[in-house]
Structure formats: C-alpha cells, structure tokens
C-alpha cells in the first residue's frame, strides 16, 4: 500500500476511513444478530429498536473521529437516508413479489384468453380467465387516450407559449384538476348520464377516465416542453416559420421523449383506475367488444370483484388478474421506452449522414 505513489492527495486516509466505516456497519449487525439468536426477538423489531440506533451511534462515532461535528451530521444523514430508502424498496418489492408470486400460480395460457362465463366461486382454476377484461380495458383506455392526449398536449403548448393574462389561472386549475379524486370523476359522469339519459357502456367508462388522464398528460407535457430551449423556437420563427410549424417541426421533435413520458404517465394513471369504472360500467363475465352498449369488463373491476372474497379460488383469480394488470403496465412502459430510444438513435444517425 505504501509503495504505490499517491497521485490523489485527497485520498490520503481514505483507506483507513473505509475500514472504520466497515467496522461501524459490522458491529451493529453482529450485535443485532446475536440478540435475535439469543433472545428470539422478532427480526423486524430488532432492526428498528436495536440495529438502527446502534448503526446511528457507530456511524456518528466514525464521523466524529474523522471530521468532528460535521462528520456526525453527515453520517447521520447517510444512515437515515439509506434506511428510509431501503424501507421504500422493501415495501415496493413486497408488492411486486407478492403479486408475481401469488399471481403466477394462477397464470396459465387459458387464464389470459378465456372469459369468465359460467365461473363461480367453486369452479376450479382450470376454467375461466381474464381475456374479456383485457380486451375491455384496452378498448376503454384507447378511447380515453385518443381524446385526452391531443387535448392535453394542446393545453401544454398553450401553457408554454401563450402570454395570456389568465395563464397562471389556467395552470393552477390544470394542476388542481390533477388532484381530482377518481371517485368524483366517476360520479360526475354518472350525474351527466342521468341528465343526458345515457346507458352504462364502455364509452361512459372512457368518459369517466378522461378527466383523470387529461391533467396528467398536460402537466408532464408542459414540463417537457419547458425544457426545450426557447432559442430553438425563436430561431425557427426568425427563419420565417409560422408558429405552428415551429412547434411541430422544431419544438415537438426536441421534446419527443418527454411527450412520450407524458402519454405514458397518463396511461399509467388510468389503466388501473377502478372506482370510475365500477361507477360507470356494468360488469360483464362475457366478451364484449361493443363499447357503445352492454356491460364491458375491465381488469381493475375484475380484480375488485374478487377482492375480499373468502373463497380460495376467487382469491387466486384476483391475484392472477392483478398480475396480468401489472404485466400490462410493464409492457406499456417497456414498449414506450424502446420506441423512444429507437426514435432518438434514428435522429442521431440522420445527423451523422
């Protein structure tokens, strides 16, 4: 160690610090482990009541030894931040793994394509599936997207380019709308239906999802449009381009990945929404592709239907449906990521040519 010439003068003592850090981590772990083994203490309790305070103490001691007061503050910050982050990861992985683990037992090819006709609580899992619900969800969400995305992006353009006096008010209202509870959105469409005399169908479900998707798309798209340098747009305008061409040919391509993110976050917001669909669509055990009439099933309402059921097979169906929903969300994310990546490499290769 001492033979190597020091090319990084600030790294002097870094080795010793590393050793001390290692010791400060090992000691609390060993003590906690001994305590758990000897007194059969509950592990999660031991982590909170024994490991965490000890870790704080040892980290603070190391900090004090090397950097005095500021070292103490830094180490406590690090320990608390990592502890809370591990808690976040623990919770979220718990969700993922329980859905994947329990849903996987139910997930079979026929579970994905069959519908739920003639299935009751005692039907074995070999029969019935979520095919009808997948189709219904896709149809409803597609209908919502077709209307909400252009409108949301138009809102975002207005928020970034306009100099109207009530711009702040528009922004505040849009932001406030993004906190719209999903139940209220469902009730709103329900009230509208009873005034307009509409029947429950896929279209009313899509209408109920629309107010939830719109502000999300507008908000995220606005953020991404804001990141495009104003010089780009001004340069296009100075070259004689009209505003709309400056937007479609200069600003929009520059903000492409952000716009895709906006659409994605909007989709993610509505694809799992349950309450509006329970309020505005009729459940259906069979397949229905007619969004204008009749009951239409959707994945969230399918899972909701089996939630809290006492029957083992019904619970298994709920987990299976949840897994399919999770996979759907994952596929959407993956697709969009791949899509935006290929687009950006294309534009780069064009530049090279």
């Amino acid at each position: 160690m001492s033979v190597r010439p020091r090319v990084q003068p600030w790294a002097a003592g870094a080795f010793g610090l590393r050793i001390q850090t290692l010791i400060s981590i090992v000691i609390p772990v060993v003590i906690t482990a001994l305590l758990v083994v000897s007194s059969k203490l509950d592990i999660s309790l031991a982590v909170i009541a024994c490991y965490f305070p000890l870790q704080l103490l040892t980290a603070a001691l190391v900090g004090w030894r090397n950097f005095k007061r500021r070292g103490v503050k830094d180490s406590i910050l690090l320990v608390v931040a990592s502890f809370l982050s591990i808690l976040v990861l623990g919770l979220l992985f718990s969700v993922l793994f329980s859905v994947i683990g329990k849903g996987f037992e139910t997930l079979t090819p026929h579970f994905v394509y069959q519908n739920n006709i003639y299935v009751d609580n005692n039907t074995p899992l070999e029969y019935g599936g979520v095919g009808h619900a997948i189709l219904g969800t896709l149809l409803i969400v597609l209908l919502t997207t077709v209307v909400a995305v252009p409108l949301g992006i138009a809102m975002a353009i207005y928020l970034t380019t306009s100099r109207a006096r009530h711009l702040g008010l528009v922004r505040t209202i849009t932001q406030a709308l993004s906190g719209l509870p999903s139940v209220v959105s469902g009730l709103f469409i329900l009230a509208f239906m009873s005034v307009a005399g509409l029947e429950r169908s896929g279209v009313t479900g899509a209408m109920a999802l629309f107010p939830l998707m719109l502000p999300t798309v507008a908000r995220v798209a606005e953020e991404s449009l804001k990141l495009v340098p104003a010089d780009l747009r001004q340069a296009a305008l100075a070259l004689g381009a009209p505003n709309y061409r400056a937007f479609f040919q200069v600003v929009l391509p520059a903000a492409k990945s952000g716009i895709v993110t906006a659409v994605l976050l909007g989709l993610a917001r509505v694809v799992g929404e349950t309450a509006p669909l329970i309020l505005t669509t009729n459940a259906n055990n069979g397949t229905n592709v007619n969004v204008f009439s009749g009951g239409i099933a959707s994945l969230p309402t399918y899972v909701y239907g089996y939630l809290g059921s006492g029957y083992v097979t019904s619970q298994a169906r709920a987990w299976g449906g949840a897994l399919v929903l999770l996979i759907l969300v994952g596929v959407l994310f993956g697709l969009a990521r791949i899509f935006s990546r290929t687009k950006s490499t294309n534009s780069k290769s064009k530049k090279v040519k």
């Binding site: 999660s44 950097f67 070292g71 931040a81 990592s82 809370l84 982050s85 808690l87 976040v88 979220l92 718990s94 969700v95 409108l151 138009a154 809102m155 380019t161 306009s162 702040g168 528009v170 922004r171 209202i173 849009t174 932001q175 406030a176 709308l177 906190g179 719209l180 509870p181 999903s182 139940v183 209220v184 009730l187 709103f188 329900l190 009230a191 009873s194 005034v195 107010p211 502000p215 305008l237 004689g240 009209p242 709309y244 061409r245 937007f247 694809v271 799992g272 929404e273 349950t274 309450a275 309020l279 899972v303 909701y304 939630l307 809290g308 987990w319 949840a322 999770l326 969300v329 994310f333």
Partner: protein, 328 residues
C-alpha cells in the same frame, strides 16, 4: 444613429414577412390551443354543475349538518338524515398519516438516487420508481389486504403496547385486533404516494444547478450543509408540488383502502390505531351498489364535497408553489 433610423423603414417595407400574427395557420393553431386550455375551466364547471344538480336536494335538506354532523340514516320510511362528518375527517386523517409516513421516505430515496448512488444503479432505481408509480390502486389494495395487514397489525400492537399512553396511539379496548385502523390505511396510502413524490423530487433534484452544489462543496460545505442550505431551499417548491400530487391521490383514494377500513359513523379524531374510521371516497363506493335513489343523491353530495375540498387544497397549494418559484 440618424442614418439607420432613416434607412430602416425602407428595408422593412420591401421584405415580406411570412410569419405575421395574421398567418392563417397560426390563427387556427392559437385558437385551437387556447380552446384546449380553456377547456380546463369548462371541465371544472361541468363537474361542479352536474354534481350540484344531483346533490342540491340533499344539500338543501341537510344544510351544514351534512358536513359536520355524524349520523347517516337513509333507509326508506325513516326520516332521512345524511351527515358526512366522520367520513370526511377520516379521509383527512388517513391522508395526513400517509403524507407524514411517505414524505421522508420519498425525499431520502430521491436524494440517494440523485446525489449518492453511482450513475448506473441510479438509473435502474429511477426506472424502477417510474414503473412503480404506475402500480394500480386495486393491486395495492389486494396486497394491503392479504400481505401487508398481518405485518401492520403486528407493528400496531407493538406501538400500542409501548406508546399507548400517548393519545395518538391510544386504543380503548386493546384486546380487540387492531384491524381496520387509519394507521393501516395510512400506510397503504403512503405506499401509493411514495413513488409519486419520489419521481417529482428526483426530477427537481436533477434539474438543480450543479455549479451551485459544486460551489458550496468547494467552499467547504459538508453533505448535510449542502443539503440544508443549497438543495432543500432551491427545490422546496418542487418537493411541495410532489407532496401535493400525493395528497390529491391520498384524499381521493378509494379502492386500495376500502377493505382495510371500518366505515362507521362514530368520529375518530386522532387515535390512529383505533379500529374505527372511514373515508369519503370509500364510503361512496361501498354504499353505491345498494343505495336508494335518495341516498344516491346523498352520495353525489359527498362527491361534491370531496371535489370542492380537493380543488381548494390543490389550488391553495399551487398558489404557494408558484409564488415560491417566482422568488427563486
């Protein structure tokens, strides 16, 4: 100076500008986007109008008691009394619990991603949190009911045993299992809003001026002092925005907490471990299926109250956010 002033108008006359404010395409473009932007007002107006049309008879009959009272009797025949108080306070209590639990976790996770982890791991964590932000509420509800509830009950019991003297964790009858408590619902809500707050905070953190942080470090700042004096003051409005997004979702959360709540009309002010409490949104969904036409209007009124509350809270908070942004 005088020369340029005399020559300039001639040039301007000779050149024909293509992108004048009167270009037809632009006119339609601006008309289109301003119509879209004003649609936000139309949407809020429509929601208010339609809910009010349905809810007006109930609001008129119940008066202010609808918000503050705590009786709900909507059976046919008996005198109809619909008062939402306990559910309303329950929503607020659960949302506050969720925010208090979620905010420290989310901020430290974002801090770790942006400032501490190596780039590659940070990228993975970012993708993960973006994906997890999309977890449907019904999936969380399923997990909360079957997986999380046993764990949380264990912790609730420990909390009650060790800190039961403190009013917040006090329970009247400790022998009963502590299911269906606002504590449980608050945790589930927290799990739902952590990814939202994290992704917003992370974005704000990564947009911070790196020169500012490097400058603070060069002046001898430690990690803690940089966080406190540079990072937090510069990103506080953004973080508040993220918390607000979370709050909006927490107050309106319906399905995820429906099965871990006991919807009783016996108000629970602060004892978050007590198996008693409710939430407006969950109440609407729980009663919706079996409601008589009269009660249905009451539920519409509950939805209206929920909408007005979230609208006021969000607008007020956005105002604060925008003002602090202007100061920056």
């Amino acid at each position: 100076m005088a020369e340029t002033e005399t020559t300039q108008p001639k040039v301007a006359v000779r050149r024909k500008l293509q992108a004048g404010p009167l270009s037809r395409g632009d006119k339609w473009f601006f008309r289109g986007i301003s119509a879209a932007a004003n649609f936000a007002f139309v949407l809020v107006g429509l929601i208010l109008t339609f809910l009010l049309i349905q809810a007006w008879p109930v609001l008129q009959a119940q008066g202010f008691g609808f918000i503050f009272g705590s009786t709900w009797k909507a059976e046919d025949g008996a005198k109809v009394v619909m008062q939402l108080g306990p559910m309303l306070w329950g929503s607020i209590l659960i949302a506050i619990t969720g925010i208090v639990l979620a905010t420290p976790m989310a901020i430290s996770f974002a801090y770790l991603i942006v400032f501490l982890l190596p780039k590659r791991i940070a990228k993975i964590a970012t993708t993960l949190i973006d994906l997890l932000a999309a977890l449907p509420s019904v999936v969380i509800g399923l997990w909360g009911l079957y997986v999380f509830t046993p764990v949380a009950l264990h912790w609730a019991a420990i909390l009650n045993r060790s800190l039961g003297w403190f009013p917040l964790f006090h329970v009247k009858d400790p022998s009963r299992p502590l299911t269906d408590s606002p504590f449980l619902a608050g945790w589930i809500v927290a799990v739902m809003i952590v990814p939202i707050i994290t992704s917003v905070t992370r974005e704000i953190f990564s947009q911070l001026d790196q020169g500012l942080i490097n400058g603070a470090l060069a002046l001898g700042g430690s990690r803690f002092s940089v966080l406190r004096r540079v990072i937090i003051p510069n990103s506080a409005p953004g973080i508040l925005g993220g918390i607000l997004l979370g709050l909006g979702r927490a107050i309106g959360e319906t399905v995820a907490i429906l099965y871990v709540l006991q919807l009783s009309f016996n108000i629970n002010w602060y004892s978050i471990l007590e198996p008693r409490g409710g939430a407006v949104a969950s109440w609407i969904l729980a009663r919706f299926g079996e409601a008589s036409p009269a009660e249905f209007k009451g539920l519409m009124a509950a939805g209206l109250v929920l909408f007005v509350i979230t609208l006021i809270v969000n607008s007020l908070a956005n105002l604060i956010v925008n003002r602090s942004k202007a100061n920056r």
